[in-house]
Symmetry: C2
Subunit: 216 residues, 2 copies
Amino acid sequence: MTINKEATNEQAILETAERLFLEKGFAMTSTTEIAKEVGCNQAMVHYYFRTKDKLFEAIFEKKIKMFVGIFLQTDEENLPFLQKLQLKIERHFDILQENPRLPFLFFNELTTHPERMDVLKQRLQEFPKTVFHRLNSELKIEIEKGSIRPIETIDLILSIVSLNVILFLACPIVKKITGMSDDDFQIMLQRRKKENVIMIINSLRPLEILNEKCIK
Amino acid sequence: MTINKEATNEQAILETAERLFLEKGFAMTSTTEIAKEVGCNQAMVHYYFRTKDKLFEAIFEKKIKMFVGIFLQTDEENLPFLQKLQLKIERHFDILQENPRLPFLFFNELTTHPERMDVLKQRLQEFPKTVFHRLNSELKIEIEKGSIRPIETIDLILSIVSLNVILFLACPIVKKITGMSDDDFQIMLQRRKKENVIMIINSLRPLEILNEKCIK
DNA sequence: CAAAAAACTAATAGAGCTATTAAATAGATT
DNA sequence: AATCTATTTAATAGCTCTATTAGTTTTTTG
């Protein structure tokens, strides 16, 4: 019990802090509040983590590692391009669903504390150089074959991230404005996951007619 | 000069506050800082706006009005559906380009201060009932004609907003990670505006082959 | 020009927050 | 049991922030 408890207090602070930071962001969460929720003295938070900032960075870095790690998974699949793409989109969506508040935290903290981007950049060093280039070369092949329309790799990535992320970012807003229940929102999420795949893959089809008819 | 200056001080506070709130959010901006930037006494901020919260809401409501107002513009256009859609997407993107920090402010403040959503909801009352339904009925007609694939109206709206918004939200992150200059970013924005239109419109084409080949 | 109103400021109350310190308690070790 | 180490706490220094108050300066107005 005691050995457990010793490990438990530091862990409890970490977990509570994570929850509160994700809920309300760094600025709106105080060490006092964290301690109150854990049920310990406020000084304990500083005993284990020295500063609020260090506590945050411990959590932030962990989340970045987790997030990036999954993308660095080697694709064991030897599938056609579009099927691989579909799996990637779905996997990305799944990660978000498991960490629905992560986009908020990332955008919010990286915007209000640009210096935190250094951790991110350092952590992401190899990310563009592997994931990006892998996707890039596969994409170029498909475009040359004419099986998908011309598109910049960065645009495709941005579009996938953007479509997948929006509902998690807008979740409180959508719920409030539509008066939707949690269950309804979950249903919407499921539909949205499929819709995003269709959206992306359909949007990659060669243009032809479109050029004449719609885009000036 | 004096008459000008009197009107000027309140105005200066409003403008400076707007800039700082957009830059760093509500929590990270103090009335002391606003006053310092304006070059006036900190009590002035409270003289004109009583509380920091009221000052924020004055700005927030103005921004919402502006943002919603543009969408409520009657579409004088009597164009084919897809061309109208293209114009809407482009107009939406333009508004964002003129207010690049607005998405950050909206997502950030509505998430950390859910009570602010009441202002938004009240302000948006007729928005869904006009814009949404107008798009909805036009969309259903096109779907029945078979000229575009089946899609929920809310999904289309979310996709447009999401694709248009992402770069403005991710701006600091993208700049930092890619080391891109401001000019390069502007170029990217221009490309992205076109890409989003192509993306959306292309993604609305009927499915057929896709169903068999790619989506299980 | 005198009185009234408006604009402005210095000072500060009062609250909350981070971080530290010094002391107390509990657990492990010899 | 005595000592040492790790954990925990109370107290508080020191800071920053919001908001108010009471008084001063400036502008307007009769």
